[in-house]
């Protein structure tokens, strides 16, 4: 049984496990969003296993913190965390993206316990997070809303509509984390459609902005804790990450945005994540 922890080594171990689960869900010969799921894995781990108040036995607990994946295509990272917490039986992970499955290609709150919103059409999750944060404020709840954005997603105009709204409505219960892995689906952002610089843009929109190494667990926790003290404005943590982090051949490779692993690659990924490939395949 998993539990919340502040032990950095333990969190790093969990993050590696989350990556292994992502690889297992991608499997062999099927397309899966490996790259963006792995770049967000440490952040997702820090939120679900250290920071957020949540209760797997009561996914609708009104005072829970909310987690939204505005970059909904990285759902495998969230599914892995939810599965470890037993929001649903672990067997569901084996059926991901199959006909009738609880675990869809993108987050679906009606199908999957623990999913807060339907995201995946990029730019919308951050707006939904804003509305949720505003609603929680009306009721005087202390819950926080955490929302992971993709850097490719930043090209969506709605991200900036939402960024205005968050600042205008002083949504200081909203923490956005930009998974700044530097790759859009097809190429490096800096070369193809450069939406940077991010901190300057969000500061101009009235947000409190921090920059961290998104794979440094201690730094992630410190950033998440430090923004709790900021009142009167929304917060953005720009997390510098590596797409495909943790799997050497997938790191910084656009083809693993939604790529296919062959049997050899699957085995190598498992070994790099400390698992026996045959055992991993069995689940």
């Amino acid at each position: 049984m998993v539990h919340q922890t502040r032990d950095i080594k333990e969190l790093e171990r969990i993050a590696t496990l989350i990556r292994l689960r992502i690889v297992q869900m991608v499997g062999v010969g099927q397309r899966g969003h490996l790259g963006g799921s792995c770049s967000a894995a440490d952040i997702v781990t820090a939120l679900y296993f250290a920071k957020m108040h949540h209760d797997p036995t009561d996914p609708n607990w009104p005072d829970r913190d909310r987690f939204l994946l505005s970059k909904g295509h990285s759902a495998l990272a969230q599914y892995a965390a939810l599965a470890e917490w037993s929001y649903f039986p672990k067997e569901e992970s084996k059926k991901v993206k199959t006909l009738g499955a609880m675990l869809q290609g993108h987050p679906d709150r009606l199908k999957t316990p623990g999913i807060e919103a339907n995201t995946g059409s990029l730019g919308q999750g951050i707006s939904i997070a804003c509305g949720m944060a505003a609603g929680l404020k009306i009721d005087g709840r202390r819950s926080r809303v955490y929302c992971i954005l993709g850097d490719g997603e930043v090209a969506e105009g709605q991200v900036w509509e939402a960024s205005h709204a968050a600042s205008i409505y002083k949504l200081d219960n909203l923490v956005a984390i930009l998974d700044n892995n530097g790759l859009m689906a097809t190429a490096p952002i800096a070369k193809r459609y450069n939406t940077a610089p991010y901190p300057e843009k969000w500061r101009a929109f009235g947000w409190h902005v921090l920059e961290i190494d998104g794979h440094d667990m201690a730094a992630i926790l410190e950033a998440l804790d430090s923004v709790d003290q900021i009142r009167g404005k929304p917060k953005l943590i720009v997390a510098h990450t590596i797409k495909g982090a943790g799997i050497s051949f997938a790191e910084n490779r656009p083809e693993f945005h939604n790529g296919i692993l062959n049997a050899e690659q699957y085995a190598q990924a498992c070994r790099e994540l400390g698992a026996d490939p045959a055992a991993a395949m069995e689940g």
């Binding site: 009104p62 679906d108 709150r109 009606l110 807060e116 919103a117 339907n118 995201t119 995946g120 059409s121 730019g123 919308q124 999750g125 707006s127 939904i128 997070a129 804003c130 509305g131 949720m132 944060a133 505003a134 609603g135 929680l136 009306i138 009721d139 105009g157 709605q158 509509e161 939402a162 205005h164 709204a165 409505y169």
Partner: protein, 318 residues
């Protein structure tokens, strides 16, 4: 018949709802003095969200508010509420069946001066195509009020289309609005007119004009465009020789689609009054557009005469 403005009544009804239910919240995209959410803003500033001219964000923001237990009403002109926010309505609201009410104001050709960019001929079609979404078009101010209240009590996504025009009262207080139920406005013996919104009152005028010519029209208000209660529609066609549909909307995807589909295979003559596959345009008043697009009592009467040749359809056939 007494004339009233549906959007005015809508705005006042939101205040009633706000008073009765602290969970009702209202979002606006900088058109509050047209959509008449200004009354709610004045009464409940802490539950009113000015979202600026950003309909996409407004719509997804409303999804978030509903996930926090609120009952949000989003407001803009119909062309933006439905058109600019199509994907937000589809993805974030209708797939998860969230309790968001999307209200499209100044719908149809009623924003006559602003032309095709601000008029909407296709909102009902695109909203009807989205699974899980209830689509409503009130026929007058009284029904607007009852509908605005009914959708607060209904848990799920709703699109409601409101005209900018004053409309004559055609429904009565003692006819409670129920989602899905068509309502009899005037009984007749020969031809049934299924009408939507503004065209219900035009259909009544058509019925009056045909009375002297010996043709008796039954007028039915179809204010729920989805979900469709086919059985209820068929009850109104029993004993009729023909059917006319009348809508201030494209003939594609709106009421004509609802009725022709509902009566598929019945063999009863059907004529459809609506906007051919084209956009609106600017005019100096609404009547000019009605005439230019054939959205008149005269056109309805003409179509009714055309269908009045059919044999009487028996209960078994419909």
């Amino acid at each position: 018949m007494k004339m009233q403005n549906p959007r005015e009544v809508y705005g006042r009804t939101l205040v009633e709802l706000g008073r009765e239910n602290p969970d009702v919240v209202v979002l606006e995209a900088d058109l509050g003095k047209s959509t008449m959410t200004c009354y709610f803003e004045e009464a409940f500033p802490e539950r009113f969200f000015e979202m600026g001219i950003g309909e996409a964000n407004m719509t997804s923001f409303a999804a978030g508010l509903s996930l926090a237990g609120k009952i949000p009403y989003t407001n803009s002109f119909a062309v933006f509420a439905a058109g600019r926010s199509f994907d937000q309505i589809r993805q974030g609201i209708c797939i998860p069946k969230l309790n968001v009410k999307i209200v499209g104001s100044s719908a149809g050709l009623s924003d006559y001066g602003d032309g095709s960019s601000h008029q909407t001929v296709e909102d009902v079609a695109i909203m009807r195509a989205i699974p899980n979404l209830t689509v409503l078009v009130p026929a007058d101010a009284g029904e607007t009020r009852r509908m605005t209240r009914a959708i607060a009590a209904y848990h799920g996504p709703v699109y409601m289309r409101i005209t900018r025009n004053d409309l004559p009262d055609v429904t009565t207080e003692d006819a409670p609005f129920e989602i899905g139920k068509p309502g009899l406005i005037r009984d007749g013996k020969d031809v049934v007119v299924f009408a939507m919104g503004q065209m219900v009152s035009e259909s009544l005028r058509a019925a009056e004009s045909l009375e002297t010519r010996g043709v008796s029209l039954r007028v039915v208000n179809v204010s729920t465009l989805k979900p469709v209660d086919e059985a209820a529609l068929k009850v109104f066609a029993r004993g009729m020789k023909g059917i006319v549909t009348a809508e201030e909307h494209s003939l594609i995807g709106g009421l004509a689609s609802v009725i022709t589909f509902a009566f598929r295979g019945c063999g009863i003559p059907i004529q459809c009054v609506g906007i051919e596959d084209q956009f609106g345009q600017s005019a100096q008043n609404y009547q000019q557009l009605q005439e230019a697009y054939g959205l008149t009592a005269e056109h309805i009467a003409f179509c009714a005469m055309e269908t009045n040749v059919g044999k009487t359809v028996t209960t078994a056939e419909v």
